[in-house]
C-alpha cells in the first residue's frame, strides 16, 4: 500500500459503556468508604512517595472507577504505607487500609 506519510492515532475517548467495574465493586464490598472519595486531592498532595513515583490515591480510585486496573496496580507499587493520606482525608476514608485491601485483592488475583 502506498505510504502517504499519514497515520491514525487511536482515540483517547473513554467509552464508559464498556468499563468493567468488577474490581471497583469488589473493593467497595470490603472498603465501602471507597465510594466516599470526592477527588479533592489532599491524599496526593501530601503523599511522600507521590512526587517521585507518581503514586496518588485519588488517581488509583479514579482509575479503578474507570476500569483501568493495571494502571492502578502499577501506581500502588510506589506507596510506602506511611499513612499520611489517611491523616488528611477530609471524608475520613482510611486510605492506608484501603490500599492494603486493594493489594490483597491484586495478590489474590495474581495467585
Amino acid at each position: 500500500m502506498m505510504d502517504f506519510g499519514f497515520s491514525i492515532s487511536p482515540s483517547s475517548t473513554m467509552n464508559l459503556d464498556k468499563v468493567d467495574l468488577t474490581l471497583y465493586d469488589r473493593l467497595c464490598s470490603i472498603e465501602p468508604d471507597a465510594r466516599k472519595c470526592m477527588a479533592c486531592g489532599s491524599c496526593s498532595a501530601t503523599c511522600t512517595a507521590g512526587p517521585w513515583t507518581g503514586m496518588s490515591v485519588r488517581k488509583v480510585l479514579l482509575d479503578i472507577q474507570r476500569g483501568k486496573d493495571k494502571e492502578a496496580a502499577a501506581m500502588l507499587k510506589g506507596c510506602m504505607l506511611c499513612g499520611k493520606c489517611t491523616m488528611v482525608c477530609p471524608r475520613g476514608i482510611n486510605t492506608r487500609h484501603l490500599i492494603l485491601s486493594l493489594c490483597r485483592i491484586y495478590g489474590e488475583d495474581a495467585k
Partner: protein, 339 residues
C-alpha cells in the same frame, strides 16, 4: 381595615408574606397569574433535605392565607403612581389603591430547548428536572413509563453559569436537586446506573453535603466532573452523551436510556415588565434590583415597593420564606412610618 397592600405572585414568597401580614392585622391583596397558588413548588414532588412532600408545604401556606383577598388567573395590567401610593389595575377589572406593593414574582425555569446541543425536544429520551418531578407526581411520562431504564444521566448547570445563554449566575438549587432526583431514581430503578455530570458540586445548604455522601455511599451514584458538550441519539432511541472526564483528563462518552437536564433559575421576564411600571430596575444579573444587596434586599429604589424571593435571584425555599417574613415586617414598618 388597615391600609391596602398588593402582593404580586402567589408562590412561596407571596404566600408567606401574606401570612405574616395577616398576622400583623392587614388584609393583603394577592394576585397570581396561574389558576393555583404555590408557584413552581406546586409542580414539585418532594423537597430536600428531608423529602418533605411539596404539596404539604403549599397546602399548609394556602390554609393559612384564606383571609387574604386572593385573585387567581389575574395579572397586573398597569400601575400608576399617586401622591400617597399606587393605583393598581388588574386584568380582572379590579382597581386598587394601595400604599405598598410587594413584588414576589419569582423566577422562570430556563428553557432547556435553548441548549440545542442537549437535544431537549429533539431526542425522545431527554427530559428536564421539572418533567421528572411531574412524573414523580403523576407516574405518567412516555419517556419513562413502560421503558426498560438501565442507565440514567443528570446534567448539572443547564442554562446556569452560562454566559452564552445569558445567565452567568449559579442557580444554587440544581446541584442538590440533581442529587435528590438521582437518589429517587435509584430507588425506583435499583438496577440502573445513575450518573451526575457536574462542573462543581455546590452543596452549601443545611444537610446538603450529607445528601451527597448518602448518594455516593448508599445509592452508588457515579459523579463525573465535566460539562456535557453534546448529546446524540442512536438507532435504539438511546442517547449518547459526550463529555470531558476532567479528573482523568480524557474525553468520555456514554450511552444512556434517560437524560435529565437540570434547567436553572432565570429571571422572570414578565416580572421585569411589571417592575418597570413602578420604576424598579434590573440588576446587572438580570434579576430585580434591591436597594442594597447586603443589608437591604427587601426595599427598592421606589418608595413603597418591596421585593421578596427569587425575583432578586436564585434562592431555596427557606431563604425565600425568610425574605418574605422580612418583607412583611419592612412593609409594616413603612406603613407605620407613613401614618
Amino acid at each position: 381595615m388597615k391600609d391596602n397592600i398588593v402582593i404580586v405572585g402567589g408562590g412561596i414568597a407571596g404566600m408567606e408574606a401574606a401570612r405574616q401580614l395577616l398576622l400583623l392585622g392587614y388584609k393583603p391583596i394577592l394576585v397570581e397569574k396561574s389558576d393555583h397558588l404555590g408557584g413552581h413548588v406546586a409542580d414539585w414532588h418532594c423537597l430536600f433535605p428531608d423529602m418533605t412532600p411539596a404539596q404539604d408545604v403549599v397546602k399548609g401556606l394556602v390554609e393559612q392565607i384564606k383571609d387574604a383577598n386572593i385573585f387567581l388567573e389575574t395579572e397586573v395590567s398597569f400601575i400608576n403612581r399617586m401622591k400617597m401610593g399606587y393605583n393598581v389595575m388588574f386584568s380582572n377589572g379590579v382597581n386598587v389603591i394601595c400604599k405598598a406593593i410587594l413584588l414576589a414574582t419569582g423566577f422562570d425555569l430556563f428553557e432547556a430547548s435553548r441548549k440545542e446541543e442537549y437535544g431537549y425536544g429533539i431526542y425522545d429520551q431527554v427530559m428536564t428536572n421539572r418533567d421528572l418531578e411531574r412524573w414523580f407526581n403523576t407516574g405518567d411520562d412516555k419517556r419513562i413509563t413502560g421503558k426498560d431504564i438501565k442507565k440514567i444521566g443528570f446534567v448539572h448547570c443547564v442554562g446556569s453559569r452560562d454566559v452564552k445563554a445569558g445567565n452567568q449566575q449559579c442557580s444554587k438549587v440544581c446541584c442538590i436537586t440533581a442529587i435528590k432526583q438521582a437518589m429517587e431514581m435509584k430507588e425506583r430503578f435499583p438496577d440502573a446506573e445513575v450518573y451526575c455530570f457536574y462542573m462543581d458540586l455546590r452543596l452549601f445548604g443545611k444537610k446538603y453535603e450529607d445528601f451527597y455522601i448518602k448518594a455516593q455511599m448508599e445509592s452508588g451514584v457515579h459523579f463525573i466532573r465535566g460539562r456535557v458538550s453534546e448529546v446524540s441519539e442512536n438507532m435504539q432511541g438511546q442517547v449518547i452523551i459526550k463529555t470531558e472526564d476532567t479528573l482523568s483528563g480524557k474525553p468520555a462518552k456514554i450511552t444512556l436510556d434517560l437524560l435529565v437536564l437540570m434547567a436553572g433559575i432565570v429571571c422572570n421576564k414578565q416580572a421585569v415588565q411589571t417592575a418597570s411600571m413602578v420604576q424598579v430596575q434590573t440588576d446587572s444579573d438580570g434579576f430585580l434590583k434591591s436597594k442594597d444587596n447586603i443589608l437591604n434586599i427587601i426595599e427598592t429604589g421606589s418608595k413603597g415597593v418591596f421585593l421578596a424571593g427569587t425575583a432578586t435571584g436564585a434562592k431555596t425555599i427557606p431563604e425565600t420564606a425568610a425574605e418574605a417574613r422580612a418583607a412583611a415586617l419592612a412593609i409594616h414598618n413603612y406603613l407605620v412610618a407613613q401614618s
